[in-house]
């Protein structure tokens, strides 16, 4: 998919130039790369719905792979989208439901609380990095922070499986290891994308809130304890 786009552009010969660190990635990305070229415009109306949906899903999946194997690439930044973060947030919030009633205040986070933590947390971190002089645009930053929740969502799935299999101290140790590893992965992946856009003397000031954000999400994942699993 990427090869076709490159070939149809006037700068086709430069398609093998990778974006290096000293080219600042910033600015207003108004239209994510999608079905907006004249030679294909007529066909997006005629193409099957499955094709349209699959194109976006492939874009999301492509970014998932970039998060799981963070390397020097700009796919997340150039073609930002917020579908992936939304998908991950909804999945995480659904998985964190532990069967407590609404009137029970002592349980884990409610669906809305997870949403608020993830989205308002991302917005506040993005505002923070922009106020400190960052060059990433607002939505690029949201996109990166949202996509880097993927390792923690995977950890949530693993934790639920482990809790079904063997509740007890062993399961806690396993869950602790898994959550710690995925928290480290998330933080590492997002700082790999975010820290280049900050002035050097403020990098730690921008990285710390990201660390706190994934720490809180990791704590929510680790302390998940379904009510049904209570020992009689």
């Amino acid at each position: 998919m990427a090869a076709e786009e490159e070939a149809s552009r006037p700068f086709a010969g430069l398609s093998d130039v990778s974006i290096s660190e000293d080219i600042p990635v910033e600015g207003d990305i108004s239209v994510p790369v999608g079905p907006s070229r004249t030679d294909e415009e007529f066909s997006t109306l005629d193409e099957p719905v499955k094709e349209t949906i699959l194109r976006d899903l492939r874009a999301v999946g492509n970014k998932f792979i970039h998060v799981l194997y963070p390397r020097r690439s700009s796919a997340l930044l150039r073609d930002w989208d917020l579908w992936g973060p939304l998908l991950l947030c909804v999945t995480l919030a659904l998985l964190l439901q532990d069967g407590t009633a609404d009137s029970d205040l002592e349980g884990g986070p409610q669906f809305a609380e997870v949403f608020v933590v993830v989205w308002f947390g991302s917005i506040i971190i993005t505002l923070n990095s922009k106020l400190l002089g960052g060059t990433l645009s607002f939505f690029q930053s949201l996109c990166v922070l949202g996509y880097c929740i993927l390792p923690l969502t995977v950890a949530m799935v693993v934790c639920r499986v482990v809790l079904l299999a063997a509740p007890g101290t062993v399961s806690f140790v396993v869950r602790l290891v898994v959550v710690t590893a995925s928290f480290g992965w998330s933080t590492f992946a997002s700082t790999a994308f975010l820290s280049d856009s900050q002035p050097a003397n403020r990098r730690a000031l921008v990285v710390y809130p990201v660390f706190l954000f994934y720490f809180v999400i990791g704590w929510m994942v680790l302390t998940y304890f379904p009510v049904k699993n209570r020992q009689p």
Partner: protein
């Protein structure tokens, strides 16, 4: 330091106060008038004062009436509040943990550029460290109990957020308003800007972050010792900062202002300790024993 130099530092304080009242005034001749007339000390005093004068003039201009980078609807206005480097934030945090008598946190660390980064992120960190450590302490104190079922108690995050943000942002508003009103009424000098007040309160809360982590150890006497230590440190930061401003007022008002600052601070520390960290035999932590927190938080439950 020898005593003549101590006197010179006192003159510096007076000069600073005079300068912040009227930045445009010519300063060299006025401020040297009280210095002891020793020829060896004279040139030193002049040099020190002039350097400080320029710095104080610049900062007085920045903080006094001038707009900081545009109107309040522009992004640059708010960017001016985040004009700090990592090293500066770390220095301010360190200074808030080690108050020295006679050295106001504000004058020493913050005078050049108050920031909002520190107060905001210290409050956020404190909210989560209180909630998480409280949960941990409940768990640790109940591990032997066979009837205890672990609950994440996520509602504590909401409550902690409400309490800490109200304390760290509304109390400075009230204090700043009160001090400004007193300054206008009494025609005194040396008022802090709102940003500086918020900054001092925010950084003074930093000591509670390691304290709350240590509070998760479910040993009562240790917890109360930690309450006293942290209250002492952060309370003294506040008192040492506001004492130079308040001492020019009548004795009654000065004492009342400082007492109010300390009482509110005590309420915060003790209330948080009692609500979040109950090392008791009760199975489920009951709603708070502090009436102030109950009234502040019923709206959120």
């Amino acid at each position: 330091m020898t005593s003549p130099n101590d006197l010179k530092f006192e003159e510096l304080e007076d000069a600073v106060q005079l300068l912040s009242a009227d930045p445009a005034a010519s300063t060299l001749s006025m401020s040297v008038s009280h210095a002891p007339s020793s020829p060896a000390g004279g040139p030193d005093v002049k040099v020190d004062l002039s350097e400080d004068e320029q710095a104080q003039e610049e900062s007085a201009e920045l903080l006094g009436g001038q707009k900081q980078g545009g109107g309040f609807w522009t992004f640059e206005y708010y960017q001016s509040f985040f004009n700090v480097d990592t090293i500066q934030v770390l220095e301010r945090v360190r200074g808030s943990m080690m108050p020295f008598p006679g050295r106001s946190f504000l004058k020493h660390y913050v005078r050049t550029s108050p920031d909002l980064y520190g107060p905001f992120w210290i409050c956020v960190t404190l909210v989560f460290s209180m909630a998480i450590s409280g949960n941990l302490s409940t768990f640790l104190s109940q591990t032997g109990n066979p009837e205890y079922h672990y609950r994440p108690q996520f509602h504590r995050v909401t409550i902690a957020a409400a309490v800490i943000f109200i304390y760290a942002w509304l109390v400075p508003v009230a204090l700043w308003g009160f001090l400004t009103w007193r300054r206008r009424a009494e025609r005194q000098i040396g008022v802090f800007s709102f940003l500086e007040t918020v900054c001092v309160y925010g950084y003074s809360l930093f000591i509670y972050i390691p304290t709350s982590v240590l509070w998760s150890i479910p040993v009562q006497w240790l917890q109360w010792i930690l309450v006293l230590v942290s209250m002492g440190v952060s309370g003294s930061v506040l008192v040492l900062t506001f004492w130079p401003v308040v001492r020019d007022d009548t004795k009654v008002m000065a004492a009342a202002t400082l007492a109010t600052i300390l009482v509110l601070h005590t309420l915060l520390a003790v209330g948080c300790k009692l609500y979040f960290f109950q090392a008791s035999e009760k199975l489920a932590p009951s709603p708070t024993s502090k009436p102030i927190h109950a009234s502040a938080t019923t709206g959120f439950l």
